[in-house]
């Protein structure tokens, strides 16, 4: 056989072998192909290599180089195809519709979520968070807040006493007093925290519950500032279309006092079961700081004015997440808490 014949044979081998290898659909067919072309005994390329000796010394290197190139190409493709086939094997046995491996999902408590949102909105309006003790004297909880202990207003919430004049705060308002005692205006604070009232657990009451207090004191703060701040808060908290309504009310430590309603977050104000058909949800109490409160902390009520507001994050969480019973918040049922991840 001549040099030309061998080169032609190599060309054919390369083409046919590569086609065959590409066409091999199973590892067995691939092995068959390997034996057919590269097998020690029968392999067609092996046969060509054996015949290199028949060539002249001048011809041999050229054909040898070509044979080696073809052999390398076939080997490479065999390897690649083998890898393809083994990958394909894995793909065919795995059902990718099966669920993924996962980690436990953690969650903040829904009441924390509301507190965090309220504080974040208020922070964007210049408020910073402060704290106060949960056990208080009756002076901080009542007297300093213009609530004489023998006044019917002190009946508005039945209080847990710990001793003579020592109680669990029934609202977060004592933080107002402590903040004003420790600092001079301007004051712009928000104080979330636990409060306690002698209400046994029922669907809408808990003996320990969260409240968020806000206080602003400076020269020239007016009722219009209160309305504007609360309205801006409500829009940022509940959505830009939220409407706000102020109704006169009574708290001993603010005057004028107001209940604040927002347009129902569920029905948008058309009336539904959540808002009992009124279109409004009561979300906070608010008012201008009573001059008597300023007097109790040594502020000059002629110089300073201010406003305060308070809201219950558990109630807001009930409205926001559609939770019918406040007790669910305090049971720590994993199946409940996981819903807020």
């Amino acid at each position: 056989m001549s040099q030309t014949d061998l080169l032609h044979e190599l060309e054919l081998i390369e083409k046919e072998a590569l086609d065959a290898i590409r066409g091999a659909a199973t590892p067995d067919a691939l092995e068959q192909a390997r034996v057919q072309w590269l097998g020690r005994k029968e392999g067609r390329l092996t046969a060509v290599l054996r015949r290199l000796g028949e060539l002249s010394a001048e011809e041999r290197p050229r054909v040898g180089a070509a044979a080696n190139r073809v052999k390398a190409a076939i080997s490479e493709l065999l390897e690649a195809r083998a890898a393809e086939l083994s990958t394909a094997k894995e793909l065919t046995v795995e059902d990718l519709t099966l669920p993924a491996r996962s980690a436990w999902t953690g969650a903040r408590h829904p009441v924390t979520l509301v507190i965090d949102d309220v504080c974040a909105v208020l922070r964007s309006l210049g408020f910073v968070r402060v704290r106060g003790p949960e056990a208080e004297t009756d002076w901080y909880n009542f007297t300093a807040l213009n609530t004489p202990l023998d006044h019917p207003a002190a009946d508005m919430h039945d209080t847990f006493y710990l001793g003579d004049g020592i109680l669990l705060r029934s609202h977060t308002s004592p933080v107002q007093i402590r903040t004003m005692q420790a600092h001079q205006p301007p004051i712009r604070i928000v104080a979330p925290g636990m409060c306690y009232r002698r209400d046994p657990f029922d669907p809408s009451h808990a003996p320990a519950f969260e409240q968020i207090e806000g206080l602003v004191v400076d020269e020239g703060i007016s009722f219009v500032d209160l309305r504007a701040t609360v309205a801006e808060f409500a829009r940022r908290m509940f959505g830009p279309g939220t409407k706000v309504r102020f109704r006169p009310s009574f708290f001993p430590f603010t005057e004028p006092s107001a209940e604040v309603d927002v347009s129902c977050t569920i029905c948008g104000g058309r009336g539904c079961s959540t808002c009992k058909g009124t279109g409004w949800l009561e979300i906070m109490g608010a008012g201008m700081v009573d001059p008597a409160v300023f007097e109790s902390v040594g502020y000059d009520p002629e110089r300073y004015t201010g406003f305060a507001f308070g809201m219950g994050p558990a109630r807001i969480a009930m409205l926001r997440y559609g939770i019918p019973d406040i007790r669910l918040f305090y049971e720590s049922d994993v199946r409940f808490l996981e819903q807020f991840a």
């Binding site: 996962s102 903040r108 210049g126 910073v128 001793g163 420790a182 309205a231 049922d333």
Partner: protein, 808 residues
């Protein structure tokens, strides 16, 4: 406070608007209406019937056969009520009628007798709870006339939520003042049926005396002028006590009261109309006859109208006769002197008591009444005489009798007028909108505030008696201006403000970071009440809700374990909770506030990852707990060495010895502990996995964040050496590691255990711990012999200092 729509319109004749419209206006004046309830709803089918004859049912002892005229001939009706009698009028549901509950009346045979309709009780009509008999209608009616109109039920009840500062709204006249067009000038006391004139009894003179006087021959005295501020008395002789006429009964029912008898009903009418409590005594049962307002004697007792014997205290005000207490002043009358069917002569009390005294008595006796509610909050001191004349007029109209001309008005210290100045510029300052004197007066005068001349030309108003309890200062008047201007009439545009001078609480920032950390680790935040049983707290509540809630907790973990149990009890196996909350310790003395600390606690049980089909996840173990604890401690700014095995393996409750940790702050003070919860400390079902928990105290100082400092990345490769060591069981791995690090030299970059092994080829009492040592020089590639020499040095020091040998 229940308000009758019709009654309101009688008092404010020009008042326009539907009940719903009026409710909406009241809400915007500060008296929200909880319910607008049409009375007699569902009673359209009910008529008035006259029972003509009653005989016994032949087949049943307790039933009667009644001959009934309901406007269309005689019907036979079977009735089970004991009070049915011939000649009386009753509400009647004819065949085909529907009752408020939805029951339709059918022609029926009861024990063999035909019944063509039903005579109804109060409860069957949804008018009250009484089901002891059928509802007898007093007065004269036309059989067949619609019951709703006949019973005065063409009315709507407004249930008003009155705030404690507004006792004036606990009456129809007070609500009318808020609403009447043109203000208080538009209020009229309506004439009452059967009575001529404006409805006030004029033919009596109340002589004003400071301490003691006479009314119709009765001596009346105030002995306790601090408790009883004013006492008006009058005598009516020859009354005929009986049921009230239909109109009066209807008015009382409209506000939710049960008619009692004409005299008592008349006083209740005035209470609801004018807000003035009154009490009628049976004059013939008053010893003396003498009436005195005095302090109770210690141990004195009285049987009140509700039949209860009550022991009085010295700080209570009572009304006494010549011998004994006949009423707890301002709270409730006594049974002995009660007006009954046999009463002929009446002594009428119209008094003013000091609010705090009434509040004390009400609290001590646990007895809240229509009278005490009003006296506690404040009754109009100027309204007594009018209320007395109104009540006398009503009593005479409905019960007959003659009023003695001689009345008395014991008034030890007539009150001084309350005059409050108000500066329009201050109104503008506080409210943020301009108000001038005319605008201020325009809002205040219709409410009854009277402008008075002031020598300095300032604006001043005299406060009407019914508002003296809540309006005493300028700010109170400013609130009235804002309220009547309408809160919604104020703009709400955001104006510039100054930032505050108060810094953010560091603990709040720290809590944020801890929540973020633990939520990322898959934990769920728990919130529990701070109450604990006696064994779990040192600060006691004086009046706890239950013994399980009698203390304030000293730690969070016990409460969190109850939450784990709660989940176990509901079949939840994988529980992973954390809580950040307050714990309490007693103050230094009982006069000091308890000491509060903020703690963080974790409790976990179940699989460390969610179950997956590829294989079962292992339960949480001690290394998971240590990992959580270490990452929390890291967030607190403390190093890994802050977490140490409990001393000598002795565990604090509720942890198991040998599997518990202690946590120390930078000063070496213990701030927490954790570990495997002892099985007897948690009530777990058989399928539950071990429970792990820890708790640490947070300190505001821990919120300080240390800023990481950059270290240059290594430029040369590292060389590693592994050494397996035989370490006695009682020698902590941490000590071995410390010696390695100490002996490793300048190029030892890291040393950490990567395998712990017991068993084959390891002698008893030992374990094999394999450490991987990584060496690196910062400025060149380290030679092998340098790493070998350092490793040899480490092994030598381990042998010398700890007696630890390399495993063969």
């Amino acid at each position: 406070m229940n308000i009758s729509y019709q009654w309101l319109r009688d008092l404010a004749p020009g008042l326009e608007g539907t009940p719903e419209g009026i409710a909406a206006r009241l809400a915007m004046y500060g008296a929200p209406v909880d319910a607008v309830a049409p009375l007699g709803a569902g009673l359209d089918d009910i008529v008035v019937a006259r029972v003509e004859a009653v005989r016994k049912h032949p087949g049943a002892d307790r039933l009667s056969l009644c001959e009934v005229d309901a406007g269309g001939g005689r019907l036979q009706v079977v009735c089970g009520a004991p009070n049915v009698r011939a000649g009386a009028y009753y509400p009647f549901a004819p065949v085909g009628a529907e009752l408020p509950g939805g029951v339709r009346i059918k022609k029926a045979k009861i024990r063999g007798e035909v019944s063509e309709g039903m005579l109804c009780s109060e409860r069957e009509l949804g008018l009250g709870r009484d089901h002891s008999g059928i509802l007898e209608l007093h007065g004269t009616y036309t059989p067949g006339e619609p019951f709703r109109a006949a019973a005065g039920l063409d009315d709507v009840r407004l249930e008003i939520d009155v705030t404690p500062n507004r006792p004036d709204l606990l009456s129809h006249i007070g609500v009318a003042r808020e609403l009447a067009p043109g203000g208080v000038a538009g209020i009229r006391l309506g004439p009452v049926a059967g009575l001529e004139g404006p409805g006030l009894y004029e033919d009596v003179a109340f002589e004003r005396v400071p301490r003691e006087g006479r009314a119709g021959g009765v001596m009346v005295a105030i002995e306790d002028p601090r408790g009883c501020l004013r006492y008006i008395g009058a005598v009516i002789r020859g009354v005929k006590v009986g049921p009230s006429p239909a109109w009066l009964a209807a008015r009382l029912r409209a506000v939710g009261l049960r008619p009692v008898n004409n005299v008592v009903d008349a006083t209740n009418y005035v209470l609801y109309e004018l807000g003035q409590p009154l009490h009628a005594f049976d004059l013939d049962r008053l010893a003396g006859p003498r009436v005195v307002a005095r302090r109770a004697a210690s141990g004195e007792t009285i049987v009140t109208l509700d039949g209860q014997r009550r022991v009085l205290q010295e700080d209570m005000v009572v009304i006494g006769d010549a011998e004994r207490a006949v009423a707890v002043a301002g709270v409730m009358g006594g049974e002995d002197s009660e007006v009954t069917e046999s009463t002929r002569n009446i002594f009428l009390e119209c008094a003013l008591f000091e609010p705090k005294a009434i509040r004390r008595a009400r609290r001590a006796l646990g007895l809240s009444t229509d009278a005490s509610v009003r006296y506690e909050r404040g009754v109009d001191p100027d309204g007594l005489e009018r209320a007395a004349r109104r009540a006398l007029a009503l009593i005479v109209a409905v019960a007959g009798g003659t009023v003695e001309r001689e009345g008395v008005d014991v008034y030890p210290e007539p009150r001084a007028p309350v005059v409050v100045p108000i500066r329009p510029e201050r109104v503008t300052h506080v409210l943020g909108e301009p108000f001038d004197a005319a605008a201020v007066a325009g809002y205040l005068e219709p409410l009854g505030f009277r402008q008075v001349e002031a020598s300095d030309g300032g604006l001043r108003f005299e406060v009407p008696g019914y508002r003296v309890y809540d309006v005493t200062r300028e700010i109170d008047l400013i609130e009235e201006v804002a309220r009547r201007h309408g809160y919604e009439a104020f703009p709400s545009e955001l104006r510039p403000f100054r930032v505050g001078a108060v810094p953010e609480a560091p603990l709040s920032l720290l809590e944020d970071r801890l929540r973020t950390l633990l939520v990322a680790r898959g934990l769920l935040e728990s919130r529990t009440a701070a109450f604990a049983p006696e064994g779990e707290g040192d600060v006691a509540l004086l009046l706890p809700l239950s013994s399980a809630e009698s203390r304030l907790r000293r730690a969070l973990v016990p409460g969190l374990l109850r939450r784990v149990e709660h989940n176990f009890a509901r079949g939840v196996r994988h529980v992973r909770l954390f809580e950040i909350g307050t714990v309490f310790a007693p103050g230094a003395t009982p006069q000091d506030l308890p000491v509060e600390n903020t703690h963080l606690a974790v409790a976990v049980s179940g699989a460390r990852t969610p179950p997956h089909w590829s294989g079962e996840a292992a339960p949480f173990d001690v290394w998971d707990l240590k990992a959580l604890l270490t990452s929390v401690v890291g967030t607190l700014g403390l190093g890994a060495d802050a977490v140490r095995p409990a001393q000598n393996g002795v565990a604090e409750r509720p942890y198991l010895p040998g599997l518990s940790f202690e946590v120390f702050d930078a000063d070496g003070k213990k701030i927490g502990h954790g570990g495997r919860v002892a099985p007897d400390a948690v009530d777990a079902p058989a399928w539950a996995d071990p429970v792990w928990a820890f708790e640490v105290r947070l300190d505001p100082a821990m919120a300080a964040v240390s800023v990481p400092q950059f270290r240059a990345l290594p430029a040369y490769p590292a060389t590693e050496r592994d050494i397996a060591l035989l370490v006695p069981e009682d020698l902590p791995a941490a000590r071995v590691e410390a010696v390695i690090r100490g002996a490793g030299g300048a190029y030892l970059e890291d040393a950490h255990p990567f395998d712990v092994f017991r068993g084959r080829a390891v002698p008893a009492g030992f374990r094999s711990i394999a450490f991987r040592l990584r060496f690196r020089a910062p400025d060149r590639t380290l030679r092998d012999d340098e790493a070998d020499a350092a490793t040899e040095r480490v092994l030598r020091r381990l042998r010398d200092e700890l007696g630890v040998e390399r495993r063969a």
